[in-house]
């Protein structure tokens, strides 16, 4: 009884749900602020993503005549909920360990594909031609980056499993515990190819600028989001804020989970998230142009895939 209570608490309040949402909005605000500073402007206030959400909640939701209404309104909900669940499954090293009975690394991997699927479904349900273009681009991107991600995770799991004298270990708790005793994978040369592949994966998954091709507002007018307005659009904003927390948190858990125990662990985790968001997202975002879909697809099938296959081979042989 108490266990299921804790599980629900983890998904709704901490570290999933409300806490992850607040954290995600704060990270987005920091990102917009730093991007503005890098372009030598003042930039919006830190709470701007929150203001946007409140605004969207007060607007009217319009459903296009040709759209399929249940699917059109259900897709953002499913995307946002899946990310709230995933946020509860990602550990905060030294502070929070998810209960493996409710899912582990593999479940997180599956949940991470849900937002992309929700966007695709939303794009096609809206009946707009731009939504359809967004759908096909999102699908191509997903085919391109999912493969490397799975191989990277497999490499990490194999390294942990072999290090413990067993076979693969898909337990995030064990991966974190292994790195805290044997040193982070970030500093382990054997894992560097996997790290490089992961560094290419997360901008594509978060949809930031070199790879924001499905939602490119200057070419396909935000693609799948084109027809959305009001609270439904707000749910997509919630989804992307939560996704930032989940993906960056997963990166920390897989490669650099050093942290002291207790509340200090939470602070160190927050600091790492902020650092990753600022260096890994804002700086990349303002210093790149957008790739074309064929360029991005070829890039992913060339470099990240090669690095992830290489990392798996190196780990298996090492």
């Amino acid at each position: 009884m108490t266990e299921s209570f804790y599980a629900i608490f983890a998904m709704l309040v901490f570290p999933g749900g409300l806490f992850a949402l607040a954290l995600g909005l704060a990270l987005k605000g920091l990102d917009r602020r730093l991007a503005a500073r890098l372009q030598r402007r003042v930039g919006p206030p830190l709470a701007q993503p929150l203001y946007d959400l409140v605004k969207l909640a007060k607007k009217r939701t319009m459903v296009p005549n040709i759209a399929s209404e249940p699917v059109f309104l259900g897709a953002p909900l499913i995307g946002a909920v899946s990310m709230a669940l995933a946020a509860a499954l990602v550990p905060i090293p030294g502070f929070y360990t998810p209960n493996p009975a409710f899912g582990d690394l593999l479940v997180v991997l599956y949940l991470l594909t849900v937002p992309a699927v929700a966007l695709m479904v939303a794009g096609s349900a809206s009946g707009s031609p731009f939504g359809a273009i967004g759908f096909s681009r999102e699908m191509a991107m997903m085919l391109a980056y999912e493969g490397p991600l799975v191989l990277v995770v497999a490499a990490v799991a194999l390294r942990t499993g072999l290090g413990q004298g067993g076979w693969v270990s898909f337990s995030l708790t064990e991966i974190v515990a292994y790195q805290r005793t044997h040193g982070a994978f970030l500093l382990d040369p054997v894992m560097w190819p996997a790290l490089l592949a992961f560094l290419a994966f997360y901008p594509a998954n978060l949809g930031i600028i070199p790879f924001d091709i499905p939602e490119a507002e200057t070419e396909v007018l935000e693609g799948p989001l084109l027809e959305y307005s009001g609270p439904a659009l707000g749910l997509f904003k919630v989804m992307s804020a939560l996704k930032a927390v989940v993906v960056l948190g997963l990166g920390i858990a897989l490669f650099f989970p050093y942290a002291p125990d207790g509340a200090a662990g939470l602070l160190v985790h927050l600091a790492k998230l902020v650092l990753l968001m600022l260096i890994g997202v804002s700086v990349v975002r303002v210093s790149c142009g957008r790739m074309r879909i064929d360029q991005a697809f070829r890039f992913f099938l060339k470099w990240p895939l090669a690095f992830s296959v290489l990392s798996l081979a190196v780990v298996a042989l090492a």
Binding site: Q39, P44, Q48, K55, K59, E217, L221, L226, S229
Partner: protein, 149 residues
């Protein structure tokens, strides 16, 4: 003051800090569009400070900037796109053309003034208006929008 009142006041104040902008070209000569897109709303004057954001879709918009004298050719499209903007919304007419037709006022295909077809809230006259004037117009539009929320 009750808690409900407090929450609704606060949420209105927060929402008013996030006006998203959408531009409609109603047969403009492109002069005002250049002033809007490349002078007034670029990093130099940084309207993102006010929470403004350009959006590609009329469905995301709160403040609609209309340029041009509304030619017969684009009238139906303009009205259709304007209807796609969800309420509450504010309309800003940029340039002298939507007010009177400007130098095109005698044209056989010019339907100006715009206010015969669309409720216009703020007029920013000029041919073309200065970027500061456009930003001033947006600031006034935000004030009006705050009351409509």
């Amino acid at each position: 003051m009750s808690l409900k009142q407090f929450i609704s006041d606060q949420s209105r104040r927060m929402a008013a800090r996030s006006p998203w902008i959408y531009r409609i070209n109603a047969g403009s000569c492109n002069g005002c569009d250049v002033e809007c897109a490349t002078t007034a709303l670029i990093p130099r004057y940084d309207v993102e400070r006010l929470g403004c954001q350009y959006c590609g879709s009329p469905r995301h918009a709160d403040i609609v900037l209309v340029t041009g004298p509304l030619t017969a050719r684009v009238k139906d499209s303009v009205l259709r796109v304007f209807d796609e903007v969800p309420d509450p919304k504010v309309t800003v007419a940029v340039g002298v053309c939507p007010i009177s037709g400007g130098i095109f006022r005698d044209g056989y295909a010019v339907l100006a003034p715009l206010s015969k077809y669309i409720p216009v809230d703020v007029n920013v006259p000029g041919c073309a208006p200065r970027p500061q004037a456009i930003i001033e117009g947006i600031a006034q539009a935000i004030e009006i929008w705050r009351q409509r929320l």
